[in-house]
Amino acid sequence: MISAAGAQLVLLSSLASASDAAAVRLNVPVEWIVFAPLLAALLCGILALRTGDARARYSGAICVAGIGLAFLTSVAIAASVGYGFAHETVFEWIRFDRLRADFAFFLDPLTSIMLLVVTGIGTLVAVYASEYMRGDRGYARFFAFVSLFIVAMTTLVLADNLILMYLGWEGVGLCSYLLIGFYYEKPAAVAAAKKAFIVNRIGDLGFALGICLTYLQFGSVEFAVIFEQVEALRTSGAEIPTAIEAIPFLLMLGAFGKSAQLPLYVWLPDAMEGPTPVSALIHAATMVTAGVYLIARTLPLFLLSEYALPTVAWVGCLTAVFAATIGMAQYDIKRIFAYSTVSQLGYMFMGLGVLSSVGATFHLFTHAFFKAALFLGCGAVMHGFAGQLDLRRLSGLGRVPGWQIVTGSMLVACLALAGFPLTSGFFSKDMILAEAFVTAGPGYRAIGWIGLLTAGLTAYYTFRVFFRVFLGPVHFTAGEEHHGGHGHHFHPHAPGAAINVVLIVLGAGAIFAGWAGVGGGHHGWFGSMVHHSTAAYEAPAGAAHGGFFSNPHQWMMLASSVVGLLGIGVAAYLHLYNRAAAERLRRSILPVAVLAGHKWCVDEGYDLLVRRPLRFIGHVCYSLGDTLIINGLVALGGAVPRLIGAAVRPMQNGRLQGYGLGMAGGLATVIIIVWVML
């Protein structure tokens, strides 16, 4: 069992108090990370509102410049913070009574990592989108929203208190809403956007209540103060109040909403209605990892409850395998990768839950690269084939001229996702799985085995896409966005320089990002970074790395390589060499395949059990409650003025002022009557 005493919190004493003299003095204006994209968002927003302004075409460049500046600042900040921490107040925000929530930043190595991921991937996606979105009517609007997203996301990451984090949290939710619904004339896009916002709000409710409860227990919402008190509480050895143990459960509800975990994952696959660069940036690399970041950031709180982290681990584990099964049965390649994102986020939560915050954040880091590469690759395909995403209608793209870079980066990213040896995903996934086997906790062994099984499924569905779409005989049909007449006139247009360069960079990241977690010390540079942040802890001494095999990491690398290769092998047989066999297999398990294809009917279930009853209650309230009462009242009330009207008819001369005087007179009469009665 994990308990506060079991897991050793190595929260550095200097970290506990941000006002401590040990704080790093920043030599770079950190607020630029937020303000540069904000400025870009404003400029693009103005351009978006001026219909017909030719300068709208510069909005892509404005956005790249804004986010790029934020990235450069982040690099400087990361160098400046190093393994230390810093605190910076930008301005006072909410101060009332004893509640203090300023617009202030808290920086430690974990913040640096997140900033680099968010602004780095953000810049790349903006470059990519400047080509991808060209010719779209909402070009400027798109970049306004993307810049705004970076503003919100960096605020979320930098926040020094829970309420400011909540601001960023809701802000990214808003941008997600606006960008999913970017093609607002498509009913599916509008519905998906609405769904995303509302499902997220359910999680946010937990977050908001968690903030209230945190304040009640610790008298503050500022991380520095909270962690200091957690540390004091832990060392005092006093009984931990139940109310405190409830805090992590409320916070994790928020995390599960934002990071699309069971039972709140349903919005993410639908979110693919948004433009593909958005899917890459928001719905794969950055925003959806906010939940992981929230738990990593508030990990000391989670350690106060015996059941919090095991719950996180189990939810993550079940989500991972559940989403993988759905992903295996989809035909839309973007959707397959969407379910894959849900599944990989599950791994991250698994990692947090089994006390591998390094593994979880490392997987977040590597996943950002290879998943962004996968989505942007899909986007290139979609862009070139007029919106075609059905893997049955695309084949052998690797041999079509101009598509080599896309194919190459897709291959690399697929290998990383499948956990192929020495790619980035391989290192990070192993870190999590190995930890699951060695950490003592309720059913953690089982979590490890399920995780391993899921790794196999992941390898299979990933290469199902790759073998189908990029290898095999060359044939393709244009998607529905092709308006040039019949399909056989269709010529795909290969991606241009901006798209290709970004794909190369991300492909390189998909391979080499893993090296950040290898090497000197415990898990290399990345491990050192996390160990110097508030997410740092160590597994209890003795239990660590001894329970299973002499070196669980080596054993796990071997095991997962085997499983991964097995998955790739099955995919190769079914989807490259013998596609007919895949069809036969599908027919033999048809009910299961259809059900998985229908996403196990979870959406329908929610509709039936939640949405419809609520709407029904709304109807009942309105038609029974209000309308009946109104009608009754009017029937009753209508009679009274008619009686009065009959009595005072001579006074009615049709002049409004007359009515006014009469009313005032009536009022005076009533006042006098009441007066006399008293």
């Binding site: 949290w169 607002y184 908001a208 209540l209 209230c212 227990q217 009462i629 009242l633 009274v640 005032a664």
Partner: protein
């Protein structure tokens, strides 16, 4: 100074009557803007270092033997509501320039009289001045609905009038009872609110409970609290745009202001005792209003029901009786005024163009009206309570107040009769707000572009000024200041919060202390009985 503030709209109203109809809109706009400028001067003159005290006072003897005085003054909370009124009236008037084409002079006359009456409510320091102004808001509003409303206006105006009038008569009874109690105790009449408040607060808990009940009758209808809210959707739906704006932005706040100014300080022990009951009504209203919103097909009625839900939060904050709750509630009054007022303006602009309020007949306006869309989505987000905009601060503080009410913070006891469950259940309103407001936006703004059939929409087109498809500069000038305010208050809520901290903490202390005293008395009585 405050008397001048009241006289500016009244004199402008005379000017409107005396001049030709085509100048009416301009005169009214200038006059109400002048009133706003004057209110800025009042703001300058106000010393926020002592914001709980009545300032900028003035007092004239009226009827000596009855102790009636025409006395005016504001504390910082009243001043904020004065500012809200003075700021929104010119915008509502400016927004009506093309919408009102018949009986123009009367329209602006009633708008200006309404403004004077509303200002009178907030600046009154004398009970009867307050009550007269409070009641007098009914008359202009009645005519605004009855004359300038849409098809169902007769019914709506009557329901509006009867509902609120009946309620406020009972409020009057309660207030007069307090005045009588004062006379009984001191042998002379006075209607000074401060003096009567002191008298009322020293009454027994049972007496206070009766007074509270009487006061709540009027104020709860005005707010409106569930279950006496049914007049609001009808009135809102039928009222002309400017009427809806003022109704939502200011008239509803007369109810919450009444609770804050009279119910809480006059019957503190009873308010503390019955606050859980009030809170339950608020929470039911929050959820009920939101669910009903979700099934509306009429956009004005949808926003009207959203007010029922929102004002539930506002009163819930008062019932929390702690600094966060009451402070949040005051914030909420201002914020709701800005964002819901603005939403009614946005909807009104669409109505003026297409002559329909039905969500079935309109859709996908984003494509043709990008500027309007930007504003509408902005105000929807403000209404949803998106952090960074104004709505969030008030909403968060109210439910935070309800959640923390009466709970020890870090082991230290704090006042208030509610608890986490009140906050937690009320907070589900946040989810529901997202559901119905996005439903609204999804239908009206997004989706496929479609308009009502011209056959039944354009029949009275000749009476209307042709408007461009998207907003004209005048309309942008109406919405832009509101949007800026919403943004500014979201980023710098301290501009309000720091200014209301003193009066809020004073009333919270007052109510909680009175409740403690009353509990002590009860305990002593019981022990004596034994």
């Amino acid at each position: 100074m405050l008397l001048t503030l009241l006289l500016i709209p009244i004199l402008t109203a005379f000017a409107v009557i005396l001049r030709p109809a085509r100048q009416a809109a301009l005169i009214a706009t200038i006059g109400s803007t002048a009133a706003f400028a004057w209110s800025m001067l009042v703001w300058r003159a106000f010393d926020f270092g002592d914001s709980a005290a009545m300032q900028v006072t003035a007092s004239w003897t009226w009827i000596e033997p009855l102790g009636l005085r025409l006395s005016l003054g504001v504390d910082s909370i009243a001043l904020l509501l004065v500012m809200l009124t003075a700021a929104l009236t010119p915008l509502a008037i400016l927004g009506s320039w093309t919408a009102i084409t018949q009986r123009v002079r009367e329209f602006y006359l009633w708008m200006l009289i309404l403004e004077a009456a509303m200002l009178g409510v907030f600046v009154a320091r004398d009970l009867l001045v307050f009550y007269i102004a409070f009641e007098f808001t009914l008359i202009p509003m009645y005519f605004l609905i009855a004359v300038y409303g849409s098809t169902n206006r007769a019914r709506a105006s009557i329901v509006f009038f009867l509902y609120t009038f009946t309620g406020s008569i009972l409020t009057l009874v309660g207030l007069l009872y307090v005045a009588w109690a004062h006379w009984d105790q001191y042998g002379r009449w006075t209607f000074d609110i401060a003096a009567l408040t002191a008298t009322a607060a020293s009454m027994s808990a049972a007496q206070q409970a009766w007074v509270l009940l009487a006061l709540c009758c009027g104020f709860a209808v005005k707010v409106p609290l569930f279950p006496v809210h049914t007049w609001l959707p009808l009135a809102h739906t039928e009222a002309p745009t400017a009427g809806s704006v003022i109704l939502a932005a200011v008239l509803l706040k007369l109810g919450t202001y009444g609770l804050y100014r009279f119910a809480m300080p006059m019957c503190p022990a009873a308010f503390h005792e019955y606050a859980p009951l009030i809170a339950v009504l608020c929470i039911v209203g929050i959820i009920y209003g939101a669910l009903v919103c979700w099934v509306q097909r009429d956009m004005k009625r949808l926003i009207a029901y959203s007010s029922v839900s929102h004002l539930g939060f506002c009163v819930l904050g008062l019932a929390a009786i702690n600094a966060a709750g009451v402070g949040g509630s005051v914030m909420y009054m201002i914020n709701h005024g800005l964002s819901t007022g603005a939403l009614f303006l946005c909807v009104g602009m669409v109505y003026e163009r297409f002559h329909t309020r039905s969500l079935d007949e309109l859709g996908g306006l984003a494509r043709r009206m990008p500027v309007w869309t930007a504003f509408t989505i902005f105000f929807v987000l403000s209404s949803v309570g998106l952090p960074g905009l104004n709505g969030f601060v008030g909403e968060f503080l109210t439910f935070f107040g309800a959640f923390t009410s009466g709970q020890p913070v870090q082991g230290l006891p704090t006042g208030g009769p509610l608890g986490p469950w009140y906050g937690a259940i009320a907070a589900t309103g946040m989810i529901l707000a997202a559901i119905y407001l996005l439903y609204f936006a999804g239908h009206l703004v997004f989706g496929a572009y479609h308009l009502p059939d011209t056959s039944h929409a354009g029949h009275d087109d000749h009476a209307h000024v042709r408007l461009p498809r998207d907003l004209c500069m005048r309309e942008i000038a109406v919405l832009a200041p509101l949007a800026l305010l919403c943004f500014w208050l979201g980023v710098q809520p301290g501009a309000i919060l720091s200014r209301i901290e003193q009066p809020v903490s004073e009333i919270v202390t007052h109510v909680n202390a009175a409740a403690d005293r009353s509990m002590l008395i009860t305990a002593i009585d019981e022990s004596e009985d034994r």
